[in-house]
């Protein structure tokens, strides 16, 4: 069985798309239902609506009360979750493969017939409010959320959780209208990875969701951009560490040069010999945590880096990070490229054993790439990179401009020179 033979895609007449990766050596399966109901659809003054709708939808359906819903999933051994991002609302889980059909039946019910009952509204609202409060205590997360807001702006920088004032003001009618418009088969992806027979799976979905009809004419392109928020780039907190977030332009997931950007990010941050880890932590002992990664939104991408370090070491940490990110433009070495290729090949093989990891990639590919990428495709793309090719690419893309967010006692300065490491 080739990697391509394992992949399946089927679109039902109502616009619902099933994507699947058959992994017959497993005894388990994972699934994710991604509905076009992200917070990009939150209306002006209604930040947090998509998230609260998701929270309330999972409480009860027309046929399953709250206890029956949770007990059914628990009885199937389903490790389930739901969450909302800017792009989508996701319901998903992982479980023994022989229970997949029964779990999908529950979720078809949640997506199609959420009861959105007034009896649960305040409980759901409370849960969402506590999510917002918990973000305040997560200092690293708070710095990086602020960075995303500033770097992406509207709508991709939105926080799904919204803010206290808007979440408190959301009415049940608004939630019902939101669900009616955005819990719909068109543009919804059902992704499954693990042990299944595709014809059976397709028939199951046809039966469970084939006659699902969405509201005609509903908006699917997101709500109008809100006015730009006035957000400080330094958050003053008497914390033990200064939390540094740095953003610079990235590459869209469907850009033909994405694998080159992924490769460069690997040299910067993957593994113990990566440049950031070596220069900031190993050679200078400035921090424990330093990392960078690519982030994808439809049609665009971003590069984010984080470092948490005590106030005395914070400026130097930032200086070294900026210098290392900037130094990528000078190119990478043949050894770094060779290591990158081994690392990517190895990590792709290792991800193969996890149906949960695969289902996440399937959803991303379907939403952001518009097609399913066989597991070996990325490996082959990275393997095919020539040194001059990636170095030409890096030379053509100076890192920056940088967006900097700091959280801690003092703000930091960008654009300072770096002293060489003493060790």
């Amino acid at each position: 069985m080739t990697f391509t033979d394992r992949l399946f895609r089927h679109q039902f007449d109502n616009g619902l798309t099933l994507v699947a990766d058959r992994m017959p050596w497993l005894q388990t399966a994972a699934f994710s239902i991604a509905m076009p109901a992200g917070c990009r659809f939150d209306p002006a003054g209604g930040a947090g609506l998509a998230n609260l709708s998701c929270e309330l939808a999972f409480r009860e359906t027309e046929t399953l009360d709250s206890h029956a819903l949770v007990e059914t999933l628990d009885g199937l051994g389903c490790d389930y979750y739901s969450n909302t991002t800017v792009l989508s609302t996701y319901f998903g889980g992982a479980l023994p493969a022989d229970q997949l059909e029964a779990a999908l039946a529950v979720y078809a019910d949640v997506a199609r017939h959420p009861r959105l009952a007034p009896t649960w509204l305040e409980e759901a609202r409370l849960a969402c409010i506590q999510e917002i409060e918990a973000m305040e205590d997560d200092l690293a997360g708070k710095a990086m959320s602020r960075l995303r807001q500033l770097h992406y702006g509207e709508p991709w920088g939105r926080l799904p959780e919204g803010d206290l004032a808007s979440v408190n003001a959301i009415s049940l009618d608004e939630i019902r209208t939101f669900a009616a418009h955005h819990y719909r088969p068109e543009k919804t992806i059902v992704a499954v990875a693990g042990k299944f027979e595709f014809d059976d799976l397709r028939r199951t979905l046809e039966r469970q969701m084939g006659d699902w009809k969405g509201l005609n004419g509903a908006a699917t392109n997101g709500s109008p951009p809100r006015a730009a928020l006035q957000l400080d780039r330094h958050i003053s907190v008497a914390s033990k560490q200064t939390h540094i977030g740095l953003a610079w332009p990235g590459v869209a997931y469907d850009d033909p040069r994405w694998h080159l950007a992924r490769g460069a990010m690997g040299v910067l941050s993957d593994g113990l010999s990566s440049r950031l880890f070596r220069e900031v932590r190993e050679r200078r002992g400035l921090c424990y945590a330093v990392m960078a990664s690519l982030h994808a939104a439809p049609g665009r991408g971003a590069s984010f880096a984080y470092c948490g370090t005590t106030s005395e070491a914070a400026q130097e940490s930032l200086d070294v990070m900026v210098a290392e990110i900037g130094r990528l433009q000078e190119g990478i070495s043949a050894d770094e490229l060779r290591r990158l290729k081994v690392q990517v090949r190895s990590s792709l093989i290792m991800q193969q054993e996890s149906c949960r990891a695969r289902v996440g990639t399937l959803v991303n590919d379907a939403l952001l790439l518009g097609r399913l990428r066989p597991v070996d495709e990325l490996g082959n793309l990275i393997e095919s990179i020539r040194l001059e090719e990636i170095n030409d690419y890096l030379a053509s893309r100076p890192a920056g401009p940088f967006e900097l967010v700091t959280l801690g006692e003092h703000p930091l300065e960008l654009d300072r020179a770096v002293s060489p490491a003493t060790a």
């Binding site: 479980l95 506590q130 008497a238 593994g271 190993e282 921090c287 090949r345 990590s347 093989i349 054993e353």
Partner: protein
Amino acid sequence: MQYRQQQLDNGLTVLAECNDQAQFLSLGFFVRTGARDEQPVDGGVSHFLEHMVFKGTRTRSADEVNLLLDDMGSSSNARTSEESTIYHAAVLPEFQTPAVELLADLMRPALRDVDFAMEKKVIIEEIMMYEDQPPWGGYERLMQQYFGESGLGQSVLGSVESVTGLNPDRMRAYHARRYAPGNVALVAAGKVDFEQLVRDAEQFCGHWEPQPVTRSLELATPANGFECRAKDDAHLEYLLHLAPGPSVDSSDRYAVRMLGMILGDSSGSRIFWKMLDSGLAESAGVGGHEYLGTGLMMAYFCCMPDRAAKNAELMHEILETAAEGVSGREVELARQKVIAQILLASEHTETRMFSVGGQWLNSQPFVTPAQIAERYRQVTLDAVNEAAQRWPLAAGRTLAIGACEQLVWNPAVVG
């Protein structure tokens, strides 16, 4: 799937779960040492040593070690706990021997003074990182209040003071005492060539000098009580509660784990319905920690300060009334969940390595995931209810930390 075990002449144990269907293998050196083996003056030395192991050997610099690990495309890491230190890497089968060679070399680190000074800064940054995260060192504080200054009360990371006070000589002495071959196992899972693994262990570890290793694990008498600590700038309140639980070799542990799920699993438990589904708490749960000779049950919640009193009352009541018994339906649902979790976990090579190695750390015979699932199938309603009687959960030591100035945990004790 085949389980294999062999011991070298110097006492090093080699064990593996060999799975021909796997595409790669995870392997690691498991050392029976951790914070519990430290003197208070050496607080944090096990964890600091774990970092220093990657800073080079007699023949390799730290840079070379990092480059070699990445050259193999390995996914490598290390972890230190109260009772163990584990160094592990996942690699493709072609790198089995080079990975054993490198990790074996790391087990005899250079511990150079200059690296020690540099890495001390990293460790202090790590301690600071956790002090910035909820519950802001609360777990370590509670463990110390419960178990005292040494043994299990010893923080794995140590404190800024204890780590600052450590020196390379004390670390070298600790390493010499604790990393003797009889105290170490080479553990592998996945696509393992076991015969080769033994040959590699002989070649790269066979020269390690055998030495007697003793372990005196003191069993402190837990101290009950309650403390409420206000923290400036905190938005939420966090409550942690410790009560006695079964040890690694207790016959009660499967029943108590199921009791823990019934009371505090993240889905469908009593805490879920009363505290999470109702929106009263942001997070809450109950879980067990099994140690050698002793054990813990830990309950926790996190919530907005104006709901902390109500949550404390609910959680105390849930823990206290557990002894009145649970229902057959609750036991069945917990059983379904735990057996599904075992199946999901059994498909992960690294998880299998930790399971096989964990059994060796605890001196237990090897049991397969299917056998463990069978043990859960055999737990009866009566067994869970008898365990609930034997392990009263509401008594113990409790710490509330966060936005609240005051909180009542048990109506009899006001903090």
